[in-house]
């Protein structure tokens, strides 16, 4: 291919000594370090980079920067890479996206022929019937999806995030942003300066020889200023409430998210050049003036050989100068500032061949440059609540009212020579610094240990006006062209939407999808508004813009996700479990052993010998003070004042709506010291709840709560030989049945470890002791128990065995056997509800439920055929009615190894829950089985002989 590379240009960013090889659609290409993918390809003569979404039209360079809608390519496994921005890297495998069978020939380009039938909303009007074919249509249409490919096997690219606390954050590293950063820094602020491109400078970078000296000076000053952190190839993605600002740092394809709490945000985003709407405006060879200046000045690429320039401003004029310097033949300049001069259409088949100007005059050219004005990138200002205002004299939207902590500087506000822009930036930066330092001082005063900074002058600086220059209102020419390149939406489409009644901008946007594609209206959003206004016979002011939503520029999911993983919790015995073959299970945040191979055997061993389970995740709360009993009486439904030192009691907690919230036992260890246990999942919730009652309702009570869940490794030693085992390792405690009865608790020494708490309770239904050991000695005690019990047949058991045993014993699990509507009576703990207490959480509801009777009840259920285990959540149906109606469900079910039959807990409508009743359970497979309701919840040992032995 012919080289379009120019001789060395003064400001070029490429390193001609560093050749970079890459592939484009399978063919080897070469470029220089510093090239973007697009500049390297353009230098190599490539003109078509993509096919359009709907009509599959060939598309070439339009803006040659990040926002170029025509330069989306696939790089390896990364889709939708901006070829106008991404720098070339050695070995890159670049391909065109979504083309079939190839970029040069796309079979679906036939859509162009039927283009006039693909009017906006065409889909809504067709494929209506027959309904049977609709899914086929849908599948075909999905083939037209835009965008690159993702390979689900791509390894995840998560990148770390960081927090930042700049006083002033400047979005945009052009002359105004650089000046603002410097001024804020001089004022004493810490500054973060964020620039989208690879280098600071904004339009000065490609501004030709005149722009070089001011650029060099600003860069030198920034370089020398330690208080300014510069992030290039980065973008401010969003401004959220209270100036929480997202910044994306890019390093090639890798992105990192910076979350900054900016005390003041300066938006110096400049202006984005907008395309012109006219026939053929998407032909390869039609470019905006900025693209031409970038290609020539930054990458030394000749964008064409013979050019027509249609200009209405100095940016177009500058492009002419650049083109002339680059030796491109300027065939014609149409000065659109003169009303007599018009750009009518671009002509060409697949690429630009000629340009039609006023009066039907056609000029042959392979390059058409337009310079018709700007879209104001007010995205960040919108996110701060601003509604930009249209200025007809400047033919663009300008910032409106900004909150105190956001300022706008430079080109986004107005126009002028570099000196004026810099001057404006300087004033804005100075004021931003003042506001930020005022906030910093306030925050320091409010932060206990912060060092108060010097008082900041309260006087604000008046920022001089930066008026927007006059500009003709050039949005659309006399012919119809594209307003949205990425969505293939034309001006006539927008007009048609208006005619069909979609006459607000938001409706037309949704109907045509204009501005909804990957460029999000950054380029031609104002064109869509102008075309809409014209069609609706309204003004642009009245039509308004559509909302700009975050992010300002798309962010990879990997950057947003970061490496943050939800934290997990490990018990002190975790390593032992891993070493001893435990199958892990995630239970809430905890990793726990589900079993060690055979849960049934673990059950049987526990029932006949002794078992031990790691119960460390159990919630534990240390309660101290004179009024703990009052608190317990309030948060539990039952009575607590009679609990003596050394005793343990079970209680149920209900929320104010009477719904069961948590349950567990609490021991009174000393007169004013209690030890509460909660469910594993409820530990944090219960602690917070206790503190809430104490702080908000009972501030005078003497109660201190400390969550000590992690402070104790808990292990339940269960089984007929558990006492014998414990006697071997425990000291300073009498474990005999007489002195340490069921539902008692003692502080003891276990395996030489002092300050252990032993609770004689029986979740499994066996004689059992819950041993709570200071966590740093947990593994030691665990190991000591196993060693001491080897001749007693001790074996560990996991969560599954525990679930089986508690079900055999008929203990319900909050959250499994109860749900978000289960009040205490339903759960079968009516006996624990003491409505004669003056007050407790949920009392009125429980009182009323007690009076009216619970509509449902928890029952123990045994299938008549004990070999069938109805899966949990199987429905219980009323088989008497014609249509099966659900009257309840199985909440827990297991095969009981001890009883050799299936056992269940179920919630049923109260009338069906009488002991002895036979119910019909519908299995998921569809079969019905019969099951009998027991008189009580207990399947095994209803008298509790094992427990109390």
């Amino acid at each position: 291919m012919t080289s379009h590379r120019l001789p060395v240009q003064p400001g070029e960013l490429i390193d001609r000594d560093d050749l970079v090889d890459f592939r484009w659609n399978g063919v080897e290409h070469g470029g220089f370090a510093g090239d973007t993918i697009a500049s390297a390809l353009a230098a190599g003569g490539v003109e078509v980079f993509s096919r359009s979404f709907k009509y599959r039209r060939p598309r070439g360079i339009l803006t040659a920067d990040f926002h170029d809608p025509n330069l989306f390519v696939q790089v390896g496994d990364e889709p939708n890479v901006r070829a106008g921005h991404r720098r070339l890297a050695p070995g890159m495998n670049v391909t065109a996206q979504g083309t079939w069978p190839s970029l040069e020939f796309d079979a679906r380009a036939a859509n162009r022929i039927v283009g006039r039938f693909l009017s906006p909303g065409f889909y809504y009007k067709t494929f209506i019937s027959p309904a049977s074919l609709r899914s086929t249509y849908q599948r075909i249409l999905r083939r037209f999806g835009a965008g690159g490919k993702i390979d689900p096997a791509t390894p995840p690219a998560h990148a770390g995030k960081r927090f930042a606390h700049p006083d002033v954050l400047v979005a945009g590293g052009g002359p105004a942003g650089m000046a603002a950063a410097l001024a804020a820094s001089h004022r004493g602020a810490r500054v973060m300066l964020v620039e989208e491109n690879h280098r600071l400078g904004g339009h000065l970078l490609y501004g030709g020889p005149d722009a070089a000296p001011p650029l060099a000076e600003l860069c030198a000053q920034i370089e020398a200023d330690d208080a300014i952190e510069v992030l290039t190839d980065s973008v401010v993605s969003g401004r959220y409430d209270h100036n929480w600002v997202g910044v994306v740092e890019r390093h090639g394809g890798e992105e990192h998210l910076v979350k900054a709490r900016a005390k003041c945000l300066v938006v110096a985003a400049g202006k984005i050049e907008r395309p012109f709407v006219f026939a053929g405006n998407d032909l390869p060879g039609v470019m905006l003036s900025g693209a031409v200046s970038r290609l020539i000045n930054l990458y030394s690429v000749a964008p064409g050989t013979r050019v027509v320039v249609a200009t209405a401003n100095e940016s177009g004029d500058a492009a002419i100068a650049d083109l002339e310097r680059a030796g491109v033949e300027v065939a014609e300049v149409a000065d659109l500032r003169r009303s007599s001069s018009q750009l009518v259409r671009a002509i060409g088949k697949g690429k630009l061949e000629a340009v039609e100007l006023s009066g039907g005059r056609k000029v042959e050219a392979d390059l058409l440059v337009t310079a018709v004005g700007w879209t104001t990138p007010t995205s960040l200002l919108n996110m701060a609540g601003d509604r930009p205002v249209y200025d007809p004299a400047a033919a663009r939207f300008l910032p409106g009212d900004l909150p105190q902590d956001v300022l706008a500087a430079g080109g986004i506000v107005g126009d002028g020579p570099v000196e004026s822009i810099v001057e404006h930036g300087r004033f804005v930066g100075f004021e931003a610094g003042r506001r930020a330092l005022t906030t910093r001082a306030a925050w320091q005063r409010l932060t206990p240990r912060a060092e108060p900074s010097d008082e900041v002058a309260a006087e604000s600086t008046d920022i001089p006006e930066l008026p927007a220059a006059g500009h003709p209102e050039l949005f659309a020419g006399p012919t119809d062209g594209f307003v949205d390149f990425s969505e293939d939406v034309k001006g006539s489409d927008v007009a048609m939407a208006v005619a069909e009644g979609y006459d607000s901008m938001e409706l037309a946007k949704r109907y045509t999808t204009a501005t909804m594609g990957p460029i999000q209206g950054k380029l031609g959003g104002v064109n869509a508004v102008a075309v809409h206004a014209a069609a609706a016979a309204a003004t642009i002011e009245a039509t308004g813009t559509t909302s700009w939503r975050p992010p300002y520029a798309p962010i990879t999911l990997g950057a947003l996700a970061g490496v943050d993983e939800d934290p997990v919790r490990y018990s002190p015995m975790h390593d032992w479990h891993v070493a001893n073959g435990a199958t892990p299970i995630v239970a809430g945040q905890w990793i726990r052993p589900d079993h060690y191979g055979d849960p049934s055997r673990e059950v049987l061993n526990t029932r006949s010998n002794v078992g031990i389970i790691d119960a460390s995740p159990l919630g534990k709360i240390d309660l101290r003070g004179r009024d703990v009993t009052k608190l317990l009486d309030f948060v539990y439904t039952n009575r607590w004042e009679s609990l003596r030192v050394g005793a343990v009691r079970y209680g149920v907690m209900c929320a104010e709506d009477g719904v069961v919230f948590d349950d567990g036992v609490t021991a009174r260890l000393e007169a004013d010291r209690y030890y509460m246990t909660t469910t594993s999942g409820g530990a944090g919730r219960v602690w917070n709840w206790l503190d809430e009652w104490l702080q908000t309702s009972f501030p005078t009570w003497d109660v201190r709560t400390t969550a000590v869940t992690d402070g104790y490794a808990a292990m339940n030693v269960a089984g007929p030989r558990s006492r014998e085992l414990l006697e071997r390792v425990a000291s300073e405690v009498d474990l005999s049945a007489e002195s340490f009865a069921y539902m008692n608790g003692r502080v003891a020494t276990v395996a030489g470890v002092t300050d252990c708490i032993i609770l004689r309770i029986g979740f499994t239904g066996e004689l059992s002791y819950e041993v709570h050991v200071p966590a740093g000695y947990g593994l030691h005690v665990w190991q000591s128990l196993l060693d001491a019990g080897s001749d007693l047949g001790i074996a560990p058991f996991g969560l599954e065995a525990q679930r089986i045993m508690r079900l055999e014993k008929g203990h319900f699990l909050v959250g499994q056997d109860t749900d978000g509507l289960t009040k205490a009576h339903t759960a079968g703990v009516g006996g624990l509800i003491k409505v004669d207490k003056a007050d407790f959480s949920g009392k009125p509801e429980l009182l009323w439920e007690g009076e009216s009777g619970a509509p449902r009840r928890l029952v123990a259920l045994q299938p008549v055929d004990g070999s069938v285990v109805p899966p949990e959540a199987s429905q219980i149906v009323d088989s008497a009615t014609e249509v099966s109606r659900t009257i309840g469900r199985v909440t827990s079910s297991r095969m009981s190894p001890t009883l050799g039959r299936s056992i269940c807990l179920a919630i049923v409508d109260t009338p069906y829950g009488e002991g002895g009743a036979t119910l019909t359970v519908r299995l998921p497979e569809g079969r019905d089985i019969a099951a009998t309701v027991l008189d009580h919840h207990v399947h095994l040992d209803p008298e509790g002989e094992r427990l109390r032995g």
């Binding site: 960081r162 925050w443 912060a450 934290p567 101290r624 992690d710 402070g711 470890v753 740093g776």
Partner: protein, 154 residues
Amino acid sequence: MADFQSPITATSEADLGSCRLRDESHLAKWRIWEGASGLALGTARHQGGSLVVAVSPAEWIVIGDKPNVDDVVDMTHVRAALRLTGAGARSVLERVCALDLDDSMTPDGAAARTLVAGVATELIRDDVAGELSYLLLMSRSFARSVWNRLEEAA
């Protein structure tokens, strides 16, 4: 009596390049409700052989000797302790903690309970011989997750 076992079992110190991460979970820690008067909330002070920390209006954490007051809860086993020391400690911590760690906001002797790697943590700026250092106390069961996150962050 058996040896104290830390939640961090694989190692007790990691070189993170610009700083060092050390497990100090074995330190004795205590929670008290009275007796540290004069210590402003949000600060930490060395007092005898102990470090006294105030992170809540009526609650102190003492790291070191058992305080001589009536009401003490032993937190040694409840909370793990990790220490991050070295010039780069701040930038590592900034990856997992949203607090402004600038000297003007979090100078030596400052203390806060806040989120570190998603876990509620007592963060104490406690420079050692003039070298930047942070002591982090968090619930013992989370310590491994936090340790790993700090290693990754570096």
